[in-house]
């Protein structure tokens, strides 16, 4: 299938007083139609700059990209027609109403029946009660919904969401997740979103691109990235010595490694959930008393830490 986005060696460097800073370095990737892709990384990793380049706001220093069939450098207008960008800051005038902003966007895109189109977005994004109030009176979550509605009004081939849930409270965040999920279900839209929340990428994305210091350091589905990192860990707390217990579970199918340490047994395995009952039975048969059990799956946090050597919340 022809990709909706094909970026080749996309690079952007900025001149500062202390020299040239590479914000994005030789980033290449593809996005298939209908995919939801997450750009993941700490602040300063190059997520926003990558998005700004792909949405024509920033000119790449090197490299190129084709977005929705339009070359970024040669046909910026074509790219702009086919994309929606929801920037971190939003993009609405404080004294304008949601209806004003949606109408303006519909007219910019030369949509037929702009008023009806605006009303449709108002309904879809639960803005009916707010439609004629100045945007400055809206809450953060309400304004974010409006931003997404504006970005989607022309049913773009690609929607870029730059940190869509940054600064939202947990209920608004959950609501925004639901809108993003609906988006793909209803419109099969291709979405590129940036986030530094691993749980967000895990919950919403088919694939994550992990950026660090402007470089693409990994690219895969959240599940596979986690699997690549390695094993689930089943931790068993014992009343007695771990020695006998280690012998009892060592031969079970699916077990990759067993570490006994005092009263604790740590079992590395591919799928801890499947193994739990067998471990308990084997220990029981060997008269080992079990005090407790704990299953740990690696999180994307662990993946990130393993790939970059630092956690996502650290600034780079």
């Amino acid at each position: 299938m022809t990709p909706v986005i094909a970026a080749t060696s996309l690079s952007k460097s900025f001149e500062t007083k202390t020299g040239t800073v590479g914000a994005v370095r030789e980033v290449s990737f593809r996005v298939a139609p209908g995919e939801v892709v997450g750009l993941l990384g700490p602040n300063g990793a190059g997520k926003t700059t990558t998005m700004r380049m792909l949405s024509t706001l920033e000119r790449p220093t090197r490299g190129s990209a084709v977005v929705a069939g339009h070359d970024l450098l040669r046909d910026a207008h074509g790219v702009r027609r086919s994309i929606g960008l929801v920037a971190q800051s939003g993009g609405t005038r404080p004294i304008a109403t949601p209806r004003d902003e949606l109408l303006l966007q519909a007219r910019i895109h030369r949509l037929a029946e702009p008023a009806r189109r605006a009303q449709a977005m108002i309904d879809t994004f639960d803005l009916a009660d707010l439609a004629d109030r100045p945007t400055m009176t809206l809450s953060g979550g309400q304004r974010r919904r409006l931003d997404v509605a504006i970005g989607l009004i022309h049913t773009p081939a690609v929607l870029f969401l730059d940190e869509p849930t940054a600064a939202l409270d947990p209920p608004s965040r959950a609501e925004m997740w639901q809108h993003i999920r609906n988006l793909r279900r209803r419109a099969a839209a291709t979405v590129v979103l940036s986030t530094h929340h691993l749980d967000e990428a895990d919950a919403l994305c088919d694939r994550v691109l992990i950026l660090d210091h402007g470089r693409l350091v990994a690219e895969d589905s959240p599940a596979r990235l986690k699997r690549q990192l390695g094993d689930d860990v089943l931790t068993v707390a014992l009343t007695g010595d771990a020695g006998r217990a280690r012998d009892a579970v060592g031969g079970l199918p699916g077990v990759r490694g067993v570490h006994g340490d005092g009263n604790e047994l740590r079992i590395g395995c591919q799928n801890a959930d499947e193994l739990v009952s067998r471990v308990v039975l084997a220990l029981h048969d060997n008269r080992v008393e079990v005090r407790g059990l704990r299953v740990a799956h690696p999180s994307l946090d662990d993946v990130f830490l393993a790939l970059t050597g630092h956690a996502t919340h650290q600034e780079v």
Partner: protein, 248 residues
């Protein structure tokens, strides 16, 4: 063609917001109204006999309206850049020219809308102005408004921070106002003052408006018109360059 449509889209949206702010438009009129009511009657005595003081004074007040109303247009640009609105337009498939020109045209049209009650009041006070001349002045005001709004955007974009904007506009507007002789005929002052005033483009515009109000079509009008067009063209060109650089 597309560019014209784009300019129209931005203009329409911006004007809609501006017109909703009726209080803002009315407040902008207070200053010239106060001058008209409290200073106008004095002029009747001060001016040389035989001249209709309102024909002299009302065009000057229109310029004052432009300097202290349209001159502050740039004040609204900074929040729109900061809120991401300008960037939203830059990501949209719309002519780059339209983003700034649509705004500037809105500012110029608001100036014309504010000029109407001032002219009507002038007539009520006994200003015997030529109606066709007044209509032609409206075009002149529109063009001057484009120039003043663009200059205001230049200031807003060039100044290092927004707190400097209001004092800077004030300190520029007052000498420009005085040097265009809106209160008293400047050609009757000392030679150095007259010379200084000749460097002020707005003086020619006011003189042209006065001539039009008096129904005299001649060199003064042509020069004033040309100066207004040049001011608008140059200011807008500088403004869009700065705008492009600042928001790139």
């Amino acid at each position: 063609m597309h560019t014209l449509q784009d300019i129209g889209v931005v203009f329409r949206s911006e004007l809609g917001l501006a017109l909703r702010n009726r209080i803002g438009i009315a407040i902008g009129l207070i200053q010239p109204f106060v001058y008209l009511l409290l200073f106008g009657p004095l002029l009747t005595q001060a001016l040389p006999g035989g001249r209709n003081p309102w024909l002299f004074f009302v065009p000057g007040l229109l310029l004052q309206l432009g300097l202290f109303g349209t001159g502050f247009a740039g004040f609204n640009l900074i929040p729109d850049i900061r809120s991401g609105f300008v960037e939203r337009l830059r990501v949209a498939p719309i002519s780059r020219l339209a983003i700034l020109l649509g705004r500037v045209l809105k500012d110029a049209v608001v100036l014309v809308i504010q000029a109407v009650p001032l002219i009507v009041l002038g007539y009520a006070f006994g200003m015997a102005a030529n109606p066709f001349g007044v209509l032609a002045s409206v075009a002149l005001i529109l063009i001057t408004g484009i120039g003043l709004a663009s200059l205001s955007y230049v200031l807003a974009l060039a100044l290092p921070n927004e707190w400097l904007f209001a004092p800077t506009v004030n300190s520029l507007a007052i000498p420009l106002l005085l040097l265009s002789g809106i209160l008293l005929p400047i050609d009757r002052g000392p030679a150095w003052l007259d010379l200084l005033a000749r460097l002020n483009p707005l003086r020619y515009v006011v003189n042209a408006a006065r001539a039009l109000f008096a129904g005299q079509l001649g060199t003064t009008v042509y020069i004033g018109g040309l100066v207004a067009v040049a001011l608008a063209g140059i200011s807008f060109a500088v403004g869009s360059r700065l705008f492009g650089r600042r928001t790139a």
